[in-house]
Amino acid sequence: MARLFCFPLVLPAMAVKDKSVELASVPVDLMGVNDRIARIKARSIKSEAKVAGLHMALSMIDLTTLEGSDTAQKVRQLCYKAIHPHDELEGIPTVAAVCVYPTMIRTAKEALKGSAVRVASVATYFPSGQSTLEQKLEETRFAITEGADEVDMVISRGRFLAGEYAYVLDEIKAVNALCKEHSVDLKVILETGELGSLDEVRKAADLALLADPTFIKTSTGKIAQAANMQVTLVMLEAISDHYDRTGIRVGMKPAGGISDAKTALHYLMMVKEVLGEDWLTHKRFRFGASRLANDILMQLRKQQTGLYQSPHYFSKD
């Protein structure tokens, strides 16, 4: 259905603390969110739909390694896996990107040369974001110079929770401008596990969307509470409303905590039902995950042979 671009962003009755950013407060109802998720999870995704969905999910993965102990060799292994997820299976896609720290970009870039797999780098003092804007921009610039195709930034959660929305928005805008200047895609990590409520998640998503980044993203994967279907639904609804207002399609990346294929298919069903099929592409939807790929591969293998193969047959990188 054609979308209408007529919903006002600002409801004057609902002003927020920081008057310099006019941010509508959109209520979120936890019961409603849970009901919607239950209904999506009741969808039965079988046979051809399952295979198509698994292929799609694989093509949307950002294979990630973000450890202090990362080595060049580990990154190279991950890159090989990104291009060759499982050579025994024919006709399967590559993953979308490999996600690393800035110092590993060159290594990844080199290893992925000639493939369509992109290099994503975290930046802006990931994962805490506890630094000045100048230093964050400096790190972003470094990542871009090193050759990152995509930058995953974190928002200043402390400032956001203190109600300093203008500060946070300016930061996102500054990083986004720098990325756009070099045709680099930006993902904005809200770190929803630190925001305390779905209302705050919605507000943070709306704030980030005001900067029109390429993606908004749930989590760093560095704290216990990573992506779940609740925050993802709330963020997808924010993206939907943003599209209705502006006609701009911002992407979504749940990250961390999604490790099985069945859950991934439920996420895709959520995207389809909330945003529509225009978002069912790696250009607009990603999974930040490292273990998910192997479960998808195992399921695809099972679809072909009817049997589950031992996990030992799938490379752990």
């Binding site: 409603g32 009901d35 739909a49």
Partner: protein, 479 residues
């Protein structure tokens, strides 16, 4: 990459169900052929195919059923509460064990999506038996200091929209309080009640405590006019409810009626809109709108009307209409040809009254009885589609400006069964729950049921409450 990621067919298996081709009457713990040998067919509304022949109970059969129930009453009512509870718990457990079979049969016979019968109807039916089984030995604590006794034989007539669930609502509290029962399911959906008779048999209830007879409106009339029952319990249309009320008064019987509705579902501009849209869908398209408490009148505050309408239409477009046995179906088949005709008459009437119709562009199966999810905008309060119960997937939308206006409009109906309120503001919820004349008011949700919660109407939606401890009162007399 992939465009058109469509779901593959996901049919629920039907191979495990056990159905006979002919069903008799369950009277006095035995299966009996109808005295005059009449049967009628029950068919699958999604395929129009016959499923089984069902006995048509005549006068002799109705007499026999009440005689059996009357005969069983002394024994049953003098059992200890704990003993009665044991039987009812057993029924609950067997329903749970057979839940898949019940769900499949419910969807085959009635047309509702398997997702609903599997996730809502059958688990809730079991939950009602569990809940009332628990009260059987605790009645003295429910009504402390009061001397109570069961009423005797109860005549119970249930509708076709939630066949097994309504049987559970009726039978469970009656048994817990020590009454015996003659129950008649609706003509188009007798099968799960007959399967329930098998469960009751398997649970070893003394013969005659529960008798299940099948038939049409004439059988129902024989039941309500019968001198034996001390209590009439009916769920169904307001029209039939009025006749039953008359019969109850003439016979000096206790009566509870759960009748029609035309519920207002009210969306304020400070509501969680996405959740509200989902609530509208659940409110009116649940069970094809064959729901007495369906949110069939939608009131949207004018400032969010465009947003709500656009989102509602988009969500309607994503609903899957078709084979009730497919696990992904959102909207199944209309229960009967007659009901489809009624709905279609209202669709025509709505357009004639000047309302604007919207239906998604989905394909409907060729065989069977189907109606697309429908909404009407530009509806006036005086339109018949806004006043009369359609009992189908048809929503009438109006806008409002002030809270006083919407309360007045919402209450401006002969019905008063249920209502929905969507707002982020607690004080508004409390004002509306107080001022709306409806038995159930849902806040920021819709069509949520639980055995602990009483359910029932105001005005022409009936009286008496089912569910919760209120539901016990309807089956007891107090000294």
């Amino acid at each position: 990459m992939t465009k058109d990621w469509n779901l593959s067919a996901a049919p629920e298996s039907t191979s495990h169900i056990q159905l006979q081709s002919e069903y008799g009457l369950f009277i006095g713990g035995k299966w009996i052929k109808p005295s005059d040998g009449s049967y009628f067919d029950t068919s699958n509304p999604a395929t129009e195919k016959r499923i089984a022949s069902i006995a048509l109970a005549g006068k002799k059969d109705v007499d026999a059923a009440f005689k059996a129930a009357d005969h069983a009453f002394d024994g049953w009512s003098s059992l200890s509460g704990a003993e009665r509870g044991k039987y009812i718990f057993r029924i609950a457990r067997i329903i749970q064990e057979k839940s898949r079979e019940f769900a499949v049969i419910e969807s085959m016979d009635g047309g509702k999506p398997i997702r609903e019968s599997r996730d809502i109807d059958i688990p809730l039916a079991a939950a009602h038996f569990f809940y009332y089984a628990g009260w059987a030995d605790k009645l003295d604590y429910v009504f402390p200091g009061r001397k109570m006794r069961p009423l005797g034989v109860a005549a119970q007539i249930i509708p076709w929209n939630f066949p097994l669930l309504m049987a559970a609502w009726k039978i469970a509290p009656a048994l817990a309080c020590g009454n015996t029962v003659v129950l008649k399911p609706a003509e188009t959906t007798s099968l799960t009640a007959l399967k329930l008779a098998e469960v009751i048999d398997e649970a070893g209830l003394p013969p005659g405590v529960v008798n299940i007879i099948t038939g049409d409106g004439a059988t129902g009339a024989l039941m309500t006019a019968h001198p034996t029952p001390k209590k009439l319990a009916f769920t169904g249309s307001t029209e039939v409810g009025k006749q039953i009320y008359k019969a109850a008064i003439q016979g000096g019987k206790k009566v509870t009626l759960e009748l029609g509705g035309k519920a207002a579902n009210i969306i304020f501009d400070d509501a969680p809109i996405d959740a509200a849209v989902e609530g509208i869908i659940n409110g009116i398209y649940f069970n094809q709108g064959h729901v007495c408490c369906a949110g069939s009148r939608l009131f949207v505050q004018e400032t969010v009307y465009d947003e709500v309408l656009a989102k509602l239409k988009r969500r309607m477009d994503s609903l899957i209409v078709g084979d009730p046995m497919d696990k992904n179906t959102d909207i199944g088949a209309i229960n009967s040809k007659a009901q489809l005709k009624t709905i279609e008459r209202y669709l025509k009437l709505g357009s004639e009254e000047g309302a604007e119709i919207y239906q998604p562009a989905c394909n409907l199966p060729e065989k069977g009885y189907w109606c697309k999810p429908t909404l009407f905008t530009n509806v006036a309060q005086s339109n018949r589609i806004a006043q009369e119960e359609i009992f189908g997937p048809v929503l009438a939308i109006q806008t409002f400006r002030t809270i006083e206006e919407v309360i007045e409009k919402a209450n401006n109906t002969p019905y008063g069964l249920s209502a929905g309120v969507w707002t982020d503001k607690g004080s508004k919820i409390f004002q509306l729950t107080k001022e709306l004349k409806a038995g159930v008011v849902w806040a920021n949700t819709y069509n949520k049921f639980d055995p602990t919660s009483p359910f029932g109407g105001f005005k022409e939606s009936g009286f008496g409450r089912e569910g919760g401890i209120h539901g016990l009162e309807a089956y007891l007399s107090f000294d």
